[in-house]
C-alpha cells in the first residue's frame, strides 16, 4: 500500500516535471509577434509535454551578467560576431548534432554553436529608380558621389559590423582607402538596421545596407517587386545566427530535445518567411517558390569567429579614421 502511494506520488512529480518550462534567451526580434519565435514555440510544444518561454533582450550581456546562476536552458539568435565572447563564458554544452548536411555556403564544424539560419549582407535599391546598379564593390566606390547610401554603425549594430568585415575581406590593407572613397556617398550612419531601412523607404538614400533576402519580404508580403539587392562580383559577407544549450541547465534533456529540433524540417521551414532569411538545413525544393526570384551572389566571404574577433578592433579604428575626415 505504502509503495503504491509512493509510486502514485512519484508519477505525479514526474508529470509535473514533464510539464516544465524550457527557458530560451533570444534577441527581441526573435520572440516578437512578427519574428519566428511564436511559430517555433507552437511546433516544439506540439511534440512535447512542455512549454518554451522566450526571454528576449540582449542575449550576450544578459548571460554575462547572470553567469552560472542564469535561468536559461538554451539560447538562440547569437551572431558569430559575438560567439567568441560567449564561448569564453564557458557556460555551454555541445549541441550533439551532425552538421555535415547543412545548406550553407560555408563549412560548419562548431560543436557548441549550432547554426539555424543565415544570410548575406547586400545593398538594397529601388529598381524603378536605379537601372544600372553597381555590379561590384569597386563599381560602388567609383560611382558618382550623388549615389547616396545609408549604413549602420559597426559599434552598435550587427549588420554594420558585417559591412565593416565585408570591406575588410575584399580590400584587406586597402580597407581604409575604400572607406574614404565610400565616405562622400554615405548620407548617414544609423544606430540600427530599422532607422536605416526607414530612411531608405522614405527616399532619403538610393541604397541601404541590408540583406540579400530583404526583397523577399516585399515580394511575398507586399507583392512589391521594386526592391532588389545589388550583387557584387567580389562576393558578399556571410552572416549566421546560432543556438546553443547551457551546461548549467536543470533541464538538460529538454534542452537537448530543442537542439535536436533546430535542424528538423519542421523548424527549418518556418525560417524563410518567419525570419526572412535562409534556413541552415533545408532542401531548395522545400523553399517558398518566390525565394527563387531573389538575386543571389555566387561568392561568399566569411571570417571565422577568431579571425573576426582579431580584426574587429583595428578595423574599427580604420573605419573611424576614414569616416572622420
Amino acid at each position: 500500500m505504502k509503495s503504491l502511494t509512493l509510486a502514485a506520488g512519484l508519477s505525479v512529480i514526474a508529470t509535473l516535471a514533464n510539464a516544465e518550462t524550457l527557458t530560451v534567451y533570444a534577441p527581441d526580434y526573435f520572440g516578437s509577434e512578427w519574428g519566428p519565435g511564436p511559430a517555433i514555440k507552437t511546433a516544439f510544444e506540439a511534440d512535447c509535454d512542455c512549454t518554451i518561454e522566450f526571454i528576449t533582450g540582449d542575449v550576450l550581456p544578459r548571460l554575462t551578467l547572470e553567469g552560472e546562476r542564469t535561468k536559461a536552458d538554451a539560447v538562440i539568435g547569437l551572431n558569430t560576431d559575438v560567439t567568441a565572447k560567449a564561448r569564453a563564458l564557458g557556460l555551454f554544452a555541445p549541441h550533439g548534432q551532425d552538421t555535415s548536411g547543412l545548406t550553407m555556403p560555408v563549412d560548419w564544424q562548431d560543436e557548441t554553436f549550432l547554426p539555424f539560419n543565415w544570410g548575406q549582407t547586400a545593398f538594397i535599391y529601388d529598381n524603378t529608380k536605379i537601372t544600372d546598379a553597381p555590379t561590384s564593390f569597386d563599381a560602388l566606390l567609383d560611382a558618382p558621389d550623388d549615389l547616396k547610401i545609408v549604413i549602420q554603425d559597426p559599434r552598435s549594430s550587427i549588420s554594420g559590423l558585417a559591412l565593416m568585415l565585408w570591406v575588410k575581406a575584399i580590400y584587406g590593407d586597402e580597407a581604409e582607402g575604400a572607406w574614404e572613397k565610400l565616405a562622400p556617398k554615405i548620407v548617414t550612419v544609423t544606430k540600427g538596421w530599422s532607422e536605416s531601412y526607414g530612411m531608405f523607404t522614405d527616399g532619403e538614400a538610393d541604397m541601404v545596407l541590408s540583406y540579400t533576402t530583404s526583397p523577399a519580404y516585399h515580394i511575398i508580403a507586399e507583392d512589391d517587386m521594386t526592391k532588389s539587392a545589388a550583387i557584387f562580383d567580389e562576393g558578399h559577407y556571410f552572416m549566421v545566427e546560432v543556438a546553443a544549450q547551457l551546461s548549467t541547465s536543470d533541464q538538460p534533456e529538454l534542452a537537448q530535445k530543442f537542439m535536436d529540433f533546430i535542424l528538423s524540417e519542421e523548424f527549418q521551414t518556418i525560417i524563410p518567411e518567419g525570419n526572412w532569411s535562409f534556413p541552415a538545413k533545408l532542401d531548395a525544393s522545400k523553399m517558398p517558390e518566390k525565394f527563387g526570384l531573389l538575386n543571389l551572389p555566387e561568392k561568399t566571404l566569411f571570417y571565422s569567429e577568431t579571425e573576426a574577433e582579431a580584426l574587429r578592433a583595428p578595423a574599427l579604428e580604420e573605419w573611424q579614421r576614414a569616416l572622420s575626415q
Binding site: K148, S156, Y197, W276
Partner: protein
Amino acid sequence: MLCLTLGTLAAVLMRAERGAGFGPGDWQALRFTLWQALWSAALSIACAIPVARALARRQFRGRGVLITLLGAPFILPTLVAVLGLVAVFGRNGPLNAALAGLGLPEVSIYGPWGVVLAHVFFNMPLAVRLLLQGWLAIPAERFRLAASLGFGPRQMIRHIEWPMLRATAPGAALVIFAICLTSFAVALALGGGPRATTVELAIYQAFRFDVDLGKAAQLASVQFALAGAAALLALRLSQQVTFGAGLDGTVARWDASGRGHRALDAFWLILAAGFLLLPLGAVVLRGLPGLTELPPVVWWSLWRSLWVALLSTALVLTLSLPLAVMATGKRGAWVEVLSTLAIAASPLVIGTGLYLMVFPFIWPGDVALIITALVNAALALPFALRSLLPQARSLAEDYGRLSASLQITGWPLWRWVILPRLRRPLGFAAGLTAALSMGDLGVIALFADPDRATLPLQMYRLMGAYRIEAASAAALLLLSASLALFWAFDMGGRANAGP
C-alpha cells in the same frame, strides 16, 4: 532617486572586472558630446525666449492648443522624431524641394549641425514651457504697476523680464545640456558618421559588444561629472528674484501693443510652429494609412503603456512635491544638483544596475512593468522638480511669513496655500511625466519578455520586421496617446488659473 542613479552605477562598478581605459575615440566622443550639448542648450534657450514671450503676452484663439502641441516634440520617442525631421528637412523633404524649386542649393540635415537641430527640435519645447511658466508667474499687479509708471518695452525688460530670465533660464539651459549629454540614437542617425559620436554610444558599445562593465561605468561617471559641474555652474549663474505676492489675476500687457511688437511676436510664433509642427504633421501623415490595420497586440501594448505612465505619474507627484518644498529650505541647492545628475544618468547603466540588484532575488521579467514605471519616474522627476522649483521658492518667500503668522501648517497649508499656487506647474509636471513615460523605451528592453511589451517597444519590433506602415501607425498612436495624457494633466493644472 539616489539609489536609482548613483546606486545602479555602483552596482555596475561592483560587478566590473576591468576597464579598458580611454582610447582616442573616447576623447573625441567626449569632445563632441560637450560641443553638441552646449550648442543645443544655448540655441534652444535663445529660440525659446522670444517664443515664450510671445505666448505670454498675446491672447488669441487656439493659444491653449498651440501651447500643448508645441510641447509635443519633447515627448516623442527618438526614432519617430528623427523620421519626422527627416521627412521635412531631409534630402527628399519639402524644404529641399522648395529650395530646389527656387534654384537654391540643397540643405543637409546630416552632420554635427543636424544633431544640434534635432536637439533644438526636441528640447526647445521644454525651454518654452519652463520660460513661459516664469512669465506667467509674474503677478499681474507688477505689470499694472509698470504700466502706471509708464514703462516702455525696454524698461519692462530691464526691471521685470530680465530678472525673471536670470532666475529661470540657467536652470532650463542646464536641464537641456544634461539631456543632450546622454543623446545617442539621434546623434547617430543625423550625425552622418563617427565624427558625431557621443559618450552614450561608447557606453552602449562597451556594454553590448565588449561586455566591459568597467568601461561602461567609467564613461557613465564622466557623464555624471559633467552634469554635476554644469549644475553647480547654473546654480551660481541663476539669481533668485521675487516679485512679491500677487492676487493671481490675468496679465494685460500695455507695453507691447505696438504694431512692431505684434509683428515680432507673430513672426516668432509662426516660425516656431512651422519648425516644431511640420515634422509632427509628417508623423501623422505617415501613420494614418496603417492605423486601421494595426494588430490587436499593439492595442494591448498601448494599454500596458498607459498603465506604466499613470503609475510613474503618481510616483513623481508623491515624490516631487515634498522634494520641491524641501528644496526651498537651507540646503535646497543640493536637491537641484542631485536631480540634474539623474537627467544625465545613462538609461543603459540604470537598467543594468537594477538588473544586477534585482536578479538574485526575483526574476526580472516578472517585475518589468513596475521597474519601468519606477525608472521612468526617476528620469522624469528632475523635470517635474525643475518646473515646480521656481514657484515653490517664491511661494516660500511670499507666503511663508504670512502663513507662519497665521499659524497655518499641515494639511490646511497644503490645501489653501501650496497646492492652489503650484497647480499650474504641478499639472505640467504630471503631464510631462505621463507623456515621457509613455514614449520612453528606457529600460524595458532589458527586462521585457515578449508578452509584456510597451507601445514604443512594439513599434520598434514592427519596424525591425519590415512592417514600416504598421510601425508608422503605432508611432502615430504613441504620439496621440502621449499628447492626450499630457493635455489632460496640463489642462487639469490650468483650470481656473487664468491664461
